[in-house]
């Protein structure tokens, strides 16, 4: 499977990759985007099976990326990995079609719990 990790923070992309490996998902093809616009473009051009996106990013926010993907007909599996988490954000994410909402700081156990059903 191909997983797109979208976060403007290089550090956080690195931590997400490391945590995916620790949770046993390191064998998947991991690709990265460093802002929302890039995430949208790569989600279209690279056809990932899953997108893990930050919320607060330059160019386009994560929720804008998800909404535009859905508006463009993409039904790629999409969820948020973000330091921001409010009930309103979770509602917006769910309404837009997000599968999960992981809050930073996160653990490998949390990744396993969320991704095992999705990635198998």
């Amino acid at each position: 499977m191909k997983i797109l990790i979208a976060d403007d923070s290089r550090v956080m992309r690195q931590i997400v990759v490391r945590t995916l490996r620790q949770a046993g998902f390191g064998d998947h093809d991991l690709i990265e985007a460093s802002n929302g616009r890039e995430a949208f473009d790569m989600a279209k051009s690279e056809n990932p099976d899953l997108v893990l996106s930050d919320w607060n990013m330059p160019e386009m926010t994560g929720i804008e990326v998800l909404r535009q993907l859905r508006a463009s007909g993409s039904d790629v599996k999409f969820g948020f990995v973000t330091s921001e988490s409010t009930p309103e954000m979770k509602d917006q994410a769910q309404a837009a079609g997000a599968l999960f909402f992981i809050v930073k700081p996160f653990s490998a156990e949390r990744f396993d719990e969320v991704f095992a059903p999705i990635l198998g």
Partner: protein
């Protein structure tokens, strides 16, 4: 409209503890030891701003050495290998994580800025018309680290004229 914000030092300390448990001290051997000294020195700092239902700043400050060690822990590398870019990125992320967690406790309608990093002491920073309302100050592996919350007085009509 004035908004009472109940993010106290215990809440802040709990968020900071989670960051330590997840990234900076996963094995539980090097916790942040409280000093309660809000004037402890720093050499670098990072901040995020929150606007909307609450307006203010979250500031992470530390010695350069503590920032280097934090970057090494975040990026799983040796402290000697940490570049300036690593250090600034990790400082930004630390402010972002704590800021995001603070935002989660605020009334709906708060917006978080992208982080700003300054390789200079926190004492050189000025956040006009703000008051420090909460903070966690400690020593991590012998090095000073602090996380503080600054509230903009223009945000709260009740405090105007204070």
């Amino acid at each position: 409209m004035s908004v009472e914000v109940e993010v106290n030092e215990n809440d802040l300390a709990e968020m900071v503890e989670q960051v330590w448990e997840s990234y900076l001290d996963p094995e539980g051997i090097n916790p942040l030891i409280p000093t309660y000294d809000e004037n402890q020195p720093s050499e670098v700092h990072s901040s995020v701003s929150i606007t909307g239902s609450w307006t203010g700043h979250i500031v992470y400050a530390s010695s350069t050495e503590a920032a280097r060690r934090a970057a090494a822990a975040f990026l799983a590398m040796e402290a000697e290998e940490v570049s300036q870019e690593d250090l600034t990125d990790v400082l930004g992320e630390l402010a972002n994580i704590v800021g995001g967690n603070v935002k989660a406790m605020l009334p709906p309608g708060a917006f978080l800025s992208l982080p700003q990093v300054v390789l200079a002491p926190e004492s050189s920073a000025r956040f006009p018309n703000t008051t420090r309302i909460s903070g966690v100050y400690g020593i991590w592996d012998g090095e000073p680290v602090s996380i503080s919350m600054w509230h903009s007085s223009s945000d709260n009509n009740q405090e105007e004229g204070a």
